[in-house]
């Protein structure tokens, strides 16, 4: 056994048998063969993944890979003219895709809530934050027995995101810094006590110290409230610091899914993921080993016939040019969509 594998095992036991616990945790959100079309273009193409209770799940990828479209579809909010063209999304046994609007509204905000990117612009500048929170409470009258309790819960959340409720409640958004606004937006997203919080690029546009703060706060909230977190990011550093599981997308396809240790260290990895990790200049990486990925992401209008990464892949073989590889999961639910990587694997080690 290589030191590599030993460290991975050690990490698992140190984390309280993370992989075992995961097998037992029930699924909270299941995406099955989901495709989203914008006219003839398929922004999300046949994606299946399972988010379990208590996960901090990262949807990672570069711009245009479909990660945002996928996340928006979780809340039935694909912007027109986008439509869910195949597959379904299930939340605790309820099928969200095709659910009627009134039922969906009971789930959105209260069960699955979203913190949008650009929290800077999420607030109305001419009314106080407190008034905006009251509006949310009025729109969801059943969420708390009294308005006062709603306000108290919001103040509790503000303290969890390390802000002073006195200042925030009476204040206007112009008095808050970008980092503070992002934290107020997170508190607001949690106001109706959702079981799933979806965040779109939660640290993009924040300064380093505020990024660190948001990472710590999300870790705390996950622990204190037990909320399941799904976040969209293009930043591998955020994945490494925050997530326990990751789904990496490329040109609309899910190319790899697994724990962060599998994604960063496993020997069985998608060539795109390995290349992406090598492409990040960081303060810790060996500068000599940093390499860009040649070429560029294909346009959705001109997708290659086989594997979408094949034109940029150093390991591509003949079959990659003609057949799009399926995502094959092993027993630990580590999935890779690559002919080359999966060829070395015995059939019985795979779930599907």
């Amino acid at each position: 056994m290589s030191t590599h594998q030993m460290m991975a095992l050690h990490a698992d036991t140190a984390g309280g048998g993370d992989s075992d616990a995961r097998q037992q945790a029930p699924a909270i959100l299941e995406v099955d063969n989901l495709s989203v079309n914008f006219g003839p273009l398929r922004a999300v193409d046949g994606v299946s993944l399972t988010v379990r209770e208590g996960d901090i799940y990262a949807l990672a990828g570069e711009s245009g890979c479909g990660k945002s479209t996928l996340a928006y579809s979780l809340l039935g909010m694909v912007p027109p003219p986008g439509v869910v063209s195949t597959g379904q999304i299930t939340f605790r046994g309820h099928t969200l895709t095709g659910m009627d609007r009134r039922k969906l509204d009971q789930i959105r905000g209260a069960e699955i809530s979203m913190v949008f990117q650009a929290a800077m612009n999420a607030f109305n500048p001419v009314i106080t934050i407190g008034t905006q929170v009251e509006h949310v409470l009025q729109a969801h009258p059943d969420s708390f027995p009294t308005a006062r309790e709603g306000r108290e819960y919001f103040e509790y959340l503000l303290r969890l995101v390390r802000l002073d409720p006195e200042v925030v409640w009476k204040g206007y958004e112009s008095r808050l810094s970008g980092g503070m606004k992002q934290r107020v937006a997170i508190a607001l997203g949690l106001l109706l006590r959702p079981s799933v919080l979806v965040l779109d690029e939660p640290t993009t546009a924040l300064d380093i110290l505020n990024q660190r703060l948001v990472i710590d706060i999300l870790n705390d909230l996950h622990e204190t409230l037990g909320v399941t977190i799904i976040f969209i990011t293009h930043d591998l550093a955020l994945v490494a610091e925050l997530a326990n599981r990751v789904a990496v997308m490329y040109a609309g396809r899910l190319v790899e899914t697994g724990t962060i240790d599998e994604i960063f260290y496993d020997e069985r990895r998608h060539p795109y993921v390995s290349a992406l990790i090598r492409a990040v200049p960081s303060v810790t990486a060996d500068t000599e080993l940093i390499k860009p990925i040649p070429g560029r992401v294909p346009s959705l209008a001109e997708l290659p016939p086989g594997c979408r990464f094949a034109p940029r892949c150093a390991q591509a073989i003949d079959i990659c040019q003609s057949v799009d590889p399926p995502l094959l999961l092993d027993a630990a639910e580590h999935g890779v969509a690559c002919h080359v990587v999966n060829a070395g694997l015995s059939e019985k080690g795979l779930l599907k």
Binding site: I208, L209, A240, F264, P281, S282, A285, P292
Partner: protein, 349 residues
């Protein structure tokens, strides 16, 4: 800076010198100036990286170095001459020799100009090549930056290019005038991760081939470490330079508390390092400090500094040498701890 006024810099290796540069935006209601007493020296064929968070004045500084903005106070010397006292011909030469690549390639290119028209006017105006060779020069430039060097490509417009291609075009436009210094203001922050390093490699290869000097502005220490190998890093905080030293030295042994806090806080794209660091570092201390306003008297970092003393609030600490060629504006640089083990270990120190 009276000494510098009487004896203009004569060091021939120095391309650009910034002397006591200050700027206050006239409409600003901010209590502090955008830049306050910034000194900087850029040698020929060197890389000087300016690092700081948003609002630290790094973009203002870059615009001033390129002559796009006139400072309220202080001087910028290009080859020993104050750029705001140059005659018309010298000013034209300076504007040719110092170019800028801006952050947002979606905004820095004129959407109404084809690629040919983006590159042509500069070549003609500065008479870089004879008129009949302009077409060939444009194709050469496109090849140089890794774009398709053919006629059809020249007829394209910026909206037909990807972000990476746009930024390559912006680089081609900057180097088309055969500059000696290029100010690169966050040139990769809008680009996807997979092509970010490719653009950095392009900048590095141009430096090697054409002897370019760079002032590289970024908030990302990882990117800065990659481009500024062998160069210098200057850390800015609210308009002031707080640390200045050799790149690897600043990243591995920061001696100003601000640089230290930044480096300790950077999210690391490596789960094992991240976990190890989480155990070593108590970030609670950062919480209250991160939102404090800059101090209006004494050391500008005093309100956020974990090592602050009364003396820090008396007067602005001067830049003092902490090791050869490495200076920090801190009265107590010895109090700045070593970075947590995790970073230098991985970096292979």
């Amino acid at each position: 800076m009276t000494a510098a006024e009487t004896t203009p810099a004569t060091d021939p290796a120095l391309l650009l010198q910034v002397d006591g540069l200050s700027h206050r935006y006239p409409t600003s209601t901010a209590p502090l100036p955008a830049l306050n007493g910034v000194d900087l020296a850029v040698g020929q064929d060197s890389v000087t990286a300016i690092v700081g968070e948003s609002g630290c004045g790094k973009t203002t500084l870059g615009r001033m170095i390129t002559g796009l903005l006139k400072p309220s106070d202080g001087r910028i010397l290009y080859q020993g001459q104050d750029i705001w006292n140059l005659g018309r011909a010298d000013w034209n030469q300076y504007r040719r020799a110092v170019q800028i690549v801006q952050q947002d390639p979606y905004a820095s290119l004129n959407p109404g100009l084809s690629i040919r028209e983006t590159l042509r006017p500069g070549l003609l105006h500065h008479k870089i090549v004879p008129r009949r060779e302009v077409q060939g020069e444009i194709l050469r430039l496109l090849e140089l930056v890794g774009l398709d060097a053919d006629e059809a490509f020249l007829r394209r417009f910026p909206h037909q290019l990807s972000g990476g291609q746009r930024q390559r075009l912006a680089v081609a436009r900057a180097v088309s005038l055969r500059p000696q210094l290029v100010v690169a203001d966050e040139p990769t922050s809008m680009l996807d991760v997979s092509i970010r390093v490719a653009v950095l490699d392009l900048l590095l290869s141009l430096r090697a081939e054409q002897g370019l000097a760079y002032v590289f502005i970024s908030h990302d220490f990882g990117v800065v470490r990659y481009i500024a190998r062998g160069g210098r890093i200057i850390v800015m905080f609210f308009g002031e330079v707080v640390e200045d030293g050799p790149a690897e030295e600043v990243i591995k042994h920061p001696r100003h508390p601000y640089s230290y806090l930044l480096l300790e806080s950077i999210p690391i794209p490596d789960p094992r390092t991240a976990r190890r660091r989480r155990q070593e570092i108590a970030t609670d201390a950062v919480d209250d400090l991160a939102e404090q306003p800059p101090a209006e008297e004494g050391c500008i970092f005093a309100n956020r500094c974990p090592f602050v003393e009364d003396a820090c609030r008396q007067a602005r600490p001067p830049m003092a040498e902490v090791s050869p060629g490495h200076r920090a504006a801190c009265l107590f640089p010895e109090r700045v701890p070593q970075l947590s083990e995790a970073i230098p270990e991985i970096a292979g120190v």
